[in-house]
């Protein structure tokens, strides 16, 4: 403590002395925040000592035996800690968070627990204790999650929703909802990257405006036609894009995750390993630079779409634009997803559900005979009408019948392609 101007001066609590570039000047600053490098630990009830786990109904860590509940996590929403694209964060984002352990000794019963690749939490199969912080700290560790959205839908509700979902749709095998044996739903926190940025776009294009003009044909008859006048135009579009979601895992189908991606990011809470207790959690295997590449592509496509809308016309050519990104930021968050699989006709199908909203997506088997029948039904009116129209060509009415047949055939082809695509997508992973 120094005595200055007759007053005692001491640095604020938590400050440390820093290196000074000039003799005679002391410098103090806040001590750097130490990264939490806690090792594996068991989440225990602070009341009865039993294994505690995250309770969906309570929305916090709770004891299933005595009813003890931990303090509720603070909802930070969209103000959850975000990072910038510094050289350091990009380098850290290239490597995973910690390194994989192959085996963990249960803190409760001492049993050896085999761990899967990339897990963040585990449960002991012998004493049912819930282990968190199971990753081994590497010297140069990657990026930890900063926030997560808690599970708010119970597994039994998901099972019901999946049964209902399986029963919908006409081109699936009959009784799919009741016949398919859906395995136990596994609630797992999947890693996601969220990206936010401001985009300023300048576009330039030839924009066409259509008008009707009158003219006389070679026979001197008065006729009208539509012509398009092309003019160069330019404009500016500003977009504030927030929380573009990119999955941080490649283990689950990106297509399926895309269908349940409507997470409410306003429910984000600050990351606490205790919230993972009793639930599965994965670390990212898609690096920050790779995810940002995908996020950036999604953002610039939205900017392109917004610029196209800004032209105010459906006739656009020689389109060019720039998109300047500013205030880019990222977050590494964990989002709740239920993953399961079911067997039907000796085939396995994957189904996922949003653990926050209950939205379900997945693979469904297709009864192809129904699809082909539907396609045949859609094409046959055009074909039959055409066949009738051919002999009628001998009469004046034949040409009109053939035109109607052609229109019906085109409509049938379009409908058939749509049905076929739906069927293919339904089975696709």
């Amino acid at each position: 403590m120094a005595v200055v101007n007759g007053l005692n001066w001491s640095p604020p609590d938590g400050w440390i002395q820093l290196e000074s570039a000039l003799e005679g000047v002391e410098i103090w600053g806040p001590a750097p925040v130490e990264e939490d490098v806690e090792g594996p630990k068991t989440t225990r009830c602070r009341s009865c000592g039993a294994a505690a786990r995250f309770d969906v109904n309570a929305g916090r860590l709770a004891c299933p035996f005595c009813g003890w509940q931990d303090a509720a996590a603070e909802v930070v929403g969209r103000s959850a800690e975000a990072g910038e694209f510094t050289q350091a964060s990009l380098a850290a984002g290239k490597q995973g968070f910690g390194v994989d352990r192959r085996e963990l000794s249960c803190e409760q019963c001492g049993a050896a627990i085999a761990l899967d690749e990339g897990v963040l939490s585990a449960s002991c199969p012998f004493c049912a204790s819930n282990q968190i912080n199971v990753r081994e700290q590497a010297e140069a560790s990657g990026l930890r999650p900063t926030a997560l959205v808690r599970f708010s839908v119970l597994p039994k509700d998901i099972s019901t929703a999946v049964k209902t979902w399986l029963g919908t749709g006409w081109f699936h095998p009959g009784g799919l909802g009741s016949v398919a044996s859906v395995d136990r739903f596994m609630g797992i926190y999947l890693p996601y990257w969220t990206f936010s940025a401001k985009l300023d776009s300048d576009w330039k294009a030839e924009v066409g405006t259509s008008r009707t003009e009158s003219y006389r044909d070679s026979d001197g008859n008065h006729r009208t036609r539509t012509v398009i006048d092309w003019n160069w135009r330019s404009g500016h579009v500003h977009l504030d894009l927030r929380d573009t979601l990119i999955p941080g895992t490649t283990k689950v189908s990106e297509t399926l995750l895309g269908r349940i991606a409507a997470f409410e990011m306003g429910d984000l809470v600050t990351y606490d390993a205790g919230l993972l207790a009793g639930w599965g959690a994965q670390t990212y295997d898609r690096s920050l630079p790779d995810a940002w590449e995908m996020g950036r592509h999604a953002m610039r496509e939205r900017a392109r779409s917004a610029c196209h809308s800004d032209t105010g016309s459906s006739h656009v050519r020689s389109f060019s634009m720039t998109a300047d990104l500013d205030d880019e930021s990222w977050r590494h968050v964990l989002l709740p997803v239920y993953v399961s699989a079911y067997r039907f006709a000796d085939r396995t199908f994957v189904v996922v559900a949003n653990g926050q909203t209950g939205e379900v997506a997945g693979q469904k088997p297709v009864a192809w005979w129904k699809v082909w029948t539907a396609i045949a039904a859609m094409l046959s009116p055009g074909i039959i009408t055409g066949l009738i129209g051919i002999p009628l060509l001998l009469f004046a009415v034949g040409i009109f019948v053939l035109i109607v047949a052609l229109i019906m055939l085109i409509a049938g082809v379009i409908g058939s392609i749509w049905v076929y695509n739906q069927a293919v997508q339904s089975e696709a992973l």
Binding site: F85, M321, A323, L325
Partner: protein
């Protein structure tokens, strides 16, 4: 001996009773009291009287319609030592600030022209961090004005004063060390602030707050080299022109003569009037003798041009002098 000006109260150590005051140029110097103490340091002249006379001649010749007496300034230049105080002090204090450190973030600019191309861009941002600490520093030769009206500044290259350097004029301080201590403290605060910023190795500083005490003041009387001259304007008011003895920089108002401007305006306007009269006369003859109408038109245009040009000498000296006063 000590002489003083009854107009500006400046005092000089010089044998100059009855001379024009080199400080204000207004009063005549008379015997005065005081003038104790001896200068301790001086900065040597880096300019010569011949060079200064040439600089003053150039300075006086660089304007339109100069006051007649302005051309006399090279002949009236005198060598005058100008006083300053140097103070040595030690400070002890505490400070706090927000220190800003530059860091780089990767950004991109996307360009679409049939397909996308990406250009990598690096942006520089500032990370602000709180800093605080204690400063115990000692400073030598903080420059403080010794006159009521005197610019700030830092002076280097001073050497011990000797009477051999004296010259005809030495201006005496009109502010004591006690009176100038608050000014010295202000100068010290600026130096301490700059040093705290340097100590942080920060790229930027904001919200800087310093609380300090300073003591152990040791004062030194420094003489700085100066040249002074004067001239009288149209209204009989004298103005002083000074030349820095080290840099040779000339300062002081150089006024244009409004009287001279008016004379030139009168000449040009008269010429315009004569031209207009002759033009009109020839124009009247031109009614009969048509070719003369061309000559009349030329003369009338000339008259118009001269009348317009005559405005400039009438207006310019006043506007120029206003700028000099500012």
């Amino acid at each position: 001996m000590t002489v003083g000006c009854d107009t500006c109260d400046a005092r000089f150590r010089a044998d100059g009773i009855g001379a024009v005051c080199p400080a204000c140029g207004q009063g005549a110097l008379a015997g005065a009291e005081g003038g104790d103490g001896e200068p301790e340091l001086a900065i040597a002249y880096a300019t010569t009287a011949k060079g200064v006379s040439k600089s003053l001649a150039d300075y006086a010749g660089g304007i339109w319609f100069p006051t007649a007496d302005l051309s006399e300034i090279p002949g009236r230049v005198v060598q005058v030592w100008w006083p300053r105080w140097l103070v040595d002090a030690a400070i002890d204090g505490t400070w706090e600030a927000q220190a800003g450190f530059d860091y780089e973030v990767a950004s991109t600019q996307e360009v679409y022209s049939g397909g996308w191309t990406t250009r990598e861009v690096t942006d520089t941002r500032i990370r602000w961090e709180p800093r605080a600490g204690r400063a115990a520093l000692a400073y030598d030769n903080i420059s403080v004005p010794a006159l009521a009206i005197q610019d700030g500044g830092q002076f280097s290259g001073s050497k011990p004063w000797s009477e051999a350097q004296a010259g005809p004029w030495i201006r005496l301080p009109d502010r004591s060390q006690v009176e100038q201590w608050p000014t010295a403290v202000q100068a010290l605060r600026s130096r301490v602030s700059a040093d705290c910023i340097r100590a942080c190795s920060a790229d930027h500083i904001r919200d800087f707050y310093l609380e300090m005490s300073a003591d152990q003041a040791d004062w030194t009387w420094l003489l700085t080299p100066m040249w002074a001259s004067w001239y009288t304007d149209d209204d009989g008011v004298r103005h002083v022109i000074r030349v820095d003895g080290v840099s040779g920089e000339v300062s002081g108002p150089r006024l244009a003569s409004k009287r001279k401007g008016r004379v030139w305006a009168g000449i040009l306007f008269s010429a315009a009037a004569i031209s207009a009269a002759v033009g009109l006369f020839i124009g009247l003859i031109g009614i009969v003798l048509w070719p003369l109408l061309v000559v009349a038109a030329v003369l009338l245009v000339l008259a118009l041009v001269l009348a317009c040009v005559a405005i400039w000498p009438a207006v310019h000296p006043g506007r120029w002098n206003k700028g000099q006063s500012a």
